[in-house]
Amino acid sequence: MYHYDHHDQSFVEARAREFRNQVERRLAGQLTEDEFKPLRLQNGLYLQLHAYMLRVAIPYGELNSQQLRKLGYIADTYDKGYGHFTTRQNIQFNWPKLVDTPDILDHLADVQMHAIQTSGNCIRNVTSDPFAGVAADEFIDPRPVSELMRQWSMLHPEFAFLPRKFKFAVTGAAEDRAAIKFHDIGIWAKADAAGEPVFDVYVGGGQGRTPRVAKLFESAVPLIELMPLLDAMLRVYNLHGRRDNKYKARIKILVEELGLENYRDEVRAELANIDRAPFVSVEGEYERICNAFEEGTPEMSPEEAIDLSATTPAFKRWVESNVAAHRVQGWAIAQISVKPKGGIPGDVTGAQMRALADLADHYSRGELRITHRQNVVFPYVQATDLEALYQGLSAIGLGEDNIGEASDIIACPGLDYCALATARSIPVAQELSTMLRAREAADDLGPISLNISGCINACGHHHAANIGILGLNKAEKENYQITLGGRSDERASVGEILGPGFAQDDVPGAVSKIIDTYLRLRAGEQERFPDTYARVGKEPFKEAVYVGA
């Protein structure tokens, strides 16, 4: 993996010192909350429903074992013994004390981590494919360009106060595992005929109260043009994006109001006049970053394919569900589900973090990834080690074999933690998980995505799910609206509202009927949920759920 150089390291240390001083001034009464709030938010410190919350950046979801151990230490020392992996591949701590946050930031800086730009109207953590660098279907490793963008966007003076927050995602594989079309700007790295990287750039995607699938802005952009183009796209957004209404301030609204062609014309005009001096070293820097990633990649000699037929049924099922094809024969990508039956999606204890770090050292060359589906990936596992890894994971409660299944639920913190939420997400996810694990044990439901958001801001990505659930406040009672047919892959689409919402207790029954309808109508076991939905439409599902209910 990539390691910070001395410049980055001294920067995060200096930033931690700066925040310590700001906290001291706040506690001494030299800064009011109004003065302090933007400073704490710029360091990822929110005030949530019950307490402060610290969101720590995990650039493109990549972590090493030392960093995960440190996160476990922070969870146990400064929080209530756990952390929560988010849909932006970050981690949140739900109970830090303000007085402790300077120490926490020092600990993070010790392992090249920080919480900068995990809040506010700036460019947020760049997300990417959790299989980056090892996926069998990869054209180009998306991490070097993600790192280039991290360096470009970090404390970019012009983009520190955008009209609204701004989210990038990058993939470089045939299958989009980074949901790039649900981002403000999504980048799809490919290789041209000479094997050089080129980038398809999508703009105007997003979720929230106005869900939109991003539109193709330009295809096959060469590396030398990519960073000036992104700069110009941001400059036009910064200039013309609305600042009068936060609900209309994202770039998706600007692109829609201007029209894609007009937005493109504005960007091209900007690009024609842009100062290219800051970008002259992009190619050299990209090469340096590529080399840094390569140096950090373990030797992986092709190995014999192994026969798993003689092993236990539980292990075989875990392999079928959780192991993905690696680019090197005899190696495997192991996906670790953080969705145990009846558990809290994305929550891991400090003890689990330490144990995962040990397992990563033993079986994944000390490296792991966090996924936007709130799971963990070990990218460098020898196939011969899979069974031992599975046993190790099972021993710490992380051996669930449900990756990509309906019980692999994305859920935001919801009204159990979040100050913006209108309903709880986690208890609904827990009830659904219990019901769905029982059904998955009895039947092959196939891959289904099920996501839950506790408010219209859609942090739980409900719009992008095959089955989406949105928690609302209806006359001071929690009410859950269901959407169907969304998907976040390369064929991205926004789910459609099924009909009137449900009380919490009625959600599992409604979801069960939806799954029954899918199983009854699918054209063979290979037809996936969104394809069945696109073919048969909403009515059969609506009839199953509402008629006679």
Binding site: R26, G29, L49, K97, L98, V99, I344, T349, I396, P427
Partner: protein, 100 residues
Amino acid sequence: MPAALTTKAILTANDVRNGDVVFWTADQVWSASIDDALIGYGKEETNALVDEGARAEAANTVVGAYLVALQPGDTLARIPVKMREVRRLAGPSIDFAQAA
């Protein structure tokens, strides 16, 4: 700080140093227990709570002070009108993290 309520309310905030949810009490201190919360009735008393919250914020004791409207009826019951406040006062409805 929101304007005063004219019915029945308590004053809540978060402790500046540790972020804990706290309530203003009849003893003129902040308590972590809603059972200790001083109930203000009518415009005059709730206005006084608003002033207390502003003073505490200025004194750097708490952050985000605001009134929580309570359901009318039993004068000693402290049941918020809004679901959000019911959840905030009760704390998370779930156990933390996974059972390893």
